[in-house]
């Protein structure tokens, strides 16, 4: 056959001369690996309209003709009920506007699970489109003594059948040649439509015995490893150890890189101030835009570390085991084993944590996990906790080395977990009631991860974050900078720089907002200065510390001790009583436990759920909870201590 337009028979729906081929297959069949092998790095990732199902399409690499490959979501049946499965059936029916019916189907089945996978092949062939079957993981089947007669399978199905090993490129070139000319594919058999599942699998068993797919030896290596990793005692210990390492990695190993980014952005800002003429434009550039870019980049080390770890654990096969081990506990509050790692990651930062929720296949549990994720005590709350606890909680020993300050800190962490789990249970019995929940997990064979795939996956996640969330985070931090700096107080050379900064802040729009907020936050024991801090903390929670430093004219935001003294000495100008007392500090701490004052989290939440509705709901719910909890805390603390 000669390649090129001359040989191309006119295909139905081949809009713009392009051949559209859809990839159909179950999860864990190597479908995505195959997709990557066929399309290279050219995949365009988006969403199907109105749902949060990822749409991935790429062009066939090295083809003599424009062939697009659409990677449909993994599915076990063509008429399923989850959003993913419904997308598959709607695409195949042409029921999605702007999404033409694929010209041909590339069906993917895993050689080691053919006795299940052929059921889906049967359903796909019912559609009557030109079809080709790629049987993946033939190397693994071979290693387990499988002697698959693929030509016999091709005769039985009446279509081309090709054995491939996606990550090693075996069979890929031949498959590509076939994909260029779907109009030449044979189609000699069509299954009887409307067969029941029982009939379908009767047929599957028949075919499998004919082609020798019935008996594969056990994967003994996987069995041996599982005997340890899923052991009632050892399994739990390994789980705890892996999670500890993961937590440690995200929590502290990212710190040097984050400090470096912070330092570089800060240096660039100071340098800008030094070389550019002093004006508000320079301030906006250095303190608004540059700082905004910094606030996006600062997330990258954690995202890179977390996603590298997640992809390694996933490719090796441990992620599924971890979910298997912890599923029961998560099930108590209506979550799944797969929710555990995303929530754990939120201790470092909710942004990568929420992104990690992509690994949860069931839409209901995925949404619940995303919505409760911001309750987990992220590292941005830590500076706030440290400042307020050091200032107001007495350093009294309780028992041995355990002190009141440490117990308070632990209590705040515990409160966050309780709020997350309680809210998950609440969501499950209210908003998410009736939403489809799918629990289905396979424990894949243990495999060595491949560096190329790993790099591509991690790079993809990081790029998606910077491009989609980064732009909005940057925009909001510029807006917040404007609020905190416009209008400015008239410059007064008699003032010290710290006093001038204080005056500027007092004149700013944020101060106006802080004053306007005062009636709403006075019942919590907060004055307008804390109100300004709360507005500023929308950029990132820890910003309240530097904002308070500015309000109290401490001068250097890193002068922690100076700030401690300043807020302890602050007195109400009318009553002369201290502004910050233990009840106020406790109330503010509790507010920080509950409130969703983090623009980045809100943006990522919108990105990952595909709608602003969910972050809006989470923000209101968490704000209401924060207000109530702070109110109760303030009243109770005032009653007991004041």
């Amino acid at each position: 056959m000669t390649p090129g337009a001359a040989t191309a028979v006119k295909l139905p729906d081949a809009g713009a001369g392009r051949v559209r081929i859809a990839l159909v297959g179950s999860p864990n069949t190597g479908k995505t690996t195959l997709f990557n092998a066929l399309t290279g790095a050219s995949a365009r990732v988006g969403n199907y309209p109105g749902v949060t199902v990822e749409r991935r399409e790429g062009m066939l690499r090295g083809a003599t003709r424009a062939v697009s490959i659409l990677d449909l979501p993994g599915t076990y049946a063509l008429e399923g009920e989850t959003p993913d499965e419904q997308i598959v059936s709607r695409v195949l029916r042409g029921a999605i506007p702007g999404e033409p019916v694929p010209d041909a189907l590339l069906i993917v089945a895993d050689a080691t699970t053919l006795r299940r996978g052929l059921g889906l092949v049967y359903e796909a062939l019912e559609r009557g489109r030109p079809s080709l079957l790629a049987v993946t993981m033939i190397d693994e089947a071979h290693a387990r003594g499988g002697r698959l007669d693929l030509p016999a399978l091709a005769r039985r199905l009446g279509i081309h059948v090709l054995g491939v090993v996606g990550h090693r490129g075996i069979g890929i070139e031949q498959l590509k040649r076939f994909l260029e000319h779907p109009e030449e594919w044979p189609r000699r058999w069509t299954p009887r439509p409307d067969a029941s599942a029982t009939e379908r699998f009767l047929w599957v068993d028949q075919v499998c015995s004919e082609i020798g797919a019935g008996t594969l030896a056990r994967d003994t290596r996987t069995d041996h490893i599982d005997r340890v990793l899923l052991h009632p005692v050892a399994g739990l210990a390994v789980f705890a150890l892996v999670m500890l390492l993961l937590f440690q990695g995200v929590f502290s190993w990212a710190v040097p890189a984050m400090d470096a980014i912070d330092g570089a952005v800060g240096a660039l800002g100071r340098w800008s101030h030094a070389v550019l003429p002093a004006s508000w434009l320079t301030d906006l550039w250095a303190d608004g835009v540059l700082a905004g870019v910094g606030s996006v980049l600062i997330f990258l080390p954690q995202i890179l570390i977390l996603f590298t770890a997640l992809h390694v654990l996933n490719d090796v096969g441990y992620m599924a085991r971890a979910a298997f081990v912890v599923d029961r506990v998560m099930g108590w509050v209506g979550l799944q084993g797969r929710s555990f790692v995303p929530l754990l990651s939120c201790y470092a930062c909710a942004v990568p944590g929420i992104m990690a929720a992509r690994t949860i296949a069931s839409p209901r549990e995925r949404l619940a996990t995303i919505l409760v994720a911001p309750f987990m005590t992220c590292s941005a709350r830590l500076p706030v906790y440290t400042l307020l606890i050091a200032a107001f909680v007495p350093a009294r020993r309780l028992l041995g080395p355990i002190g009141l300050q440490g117990v308070t800190m632990l209590g705040l962490y515990g409160l966050g977990v309780a709020a997350a789990l309680g809210s998950a249970a609440l969501l499950n019995s209210t908003l998410l009631r009736g939403k489809i929940s799918v629990f289905y997990m396979e424990l894949p064979p243990y495999r060595w991860p491949t560096a190329g795939l790993l790099a591509r996956q991690v790079w993809g996640s990081a790029r998606a974050f910077v491009r989609r969330a980064g732009t909005i985070i940057l925009a909001t931090s510029v807006v917040l900078w404007v609020l905190l700096n416009v209008p400015q107080a008239p410059p007064d050379p008699a003032r010290s720089p710290a006093a001038q900064a204080q005056a500027d802040l007092q004149a700013s729009a944020a101060a106006t907002i802080g004053h306007a907020l005062e009636p709403a936050i006075a019942p919590l024991g907060f004055d307008w200065k804390i109100g300004v801090g709360l507005v500023a903390s929308l950029a990132a929670r820890e910003v309240i510390v530097s904002t308070l430093a500015q309000i109290y004219a401490v001068g250097d935001a890193d002068d922690f001790a100076g700030l401690l003294v300043a807020i302890k000495d602050d007195r109400d100008p009318q009553t002369g009583r201290p502004v910050f007392t233990l009840p106020v500090a406790l109330s503010l701490l509790v507010f920080f436990v509950f409130a969703l004052q983090c623009t980045s989290t809100i943006v990522v939440m919108a990105q990952e759920t595909g709608s602003w509705r969910w972050p809006a709901l989470a923000f209101s719910y968490m704000l209401a909870l924060a207000w109530l909890a702070s109110f109760v805390t303030f009243r109770a603390a005032t009653f007991f201590w004041a």
Binding site: G80, A197, T198, L230, D327, V329, M441
Partner: protein, 84 residues
């Protein structure tokens, strides 16, 4: 252990094989399970339970999958002869 009768799948001890019994009259296997190959007379085995007791890993049709006990409620199996 009876050979003619059936026991709940959730009571099948790990390592023992059984065959999925046809559902009673007027009953149906859940659609999702049918799509996964849980059709009457299919041989299956509970491979292991999770360290905390739930979910369970089941071998069926030459592959393995994990399901929660709650999803398996109502499923009954005929137990194969010991040593078979």
């Amino acid at each position: 252990m009876t050979t003619g009768g059936t026991i709940p799948l959730t009571a099948l001890p790990p390592g023992r094989r059984g065959r999925l019994a046809a559902p009673g009259p007027g009953e149906e296997l859940p659609r999702r399970l049918r799509d996964l190959g849980f059709v009457p007379d299919t041989e299956l085995q509970v491979v292991r339970r999770a360290p905390l007791g739930d979910p369970v890993e089941i071998e069926i049709r030459g592959y393995r999958l994990c399901l929660r006990l709650a999803q398996l409620r109502g499923l009954r199996v005929r137990v194969e002869e010991e040593g078979a």
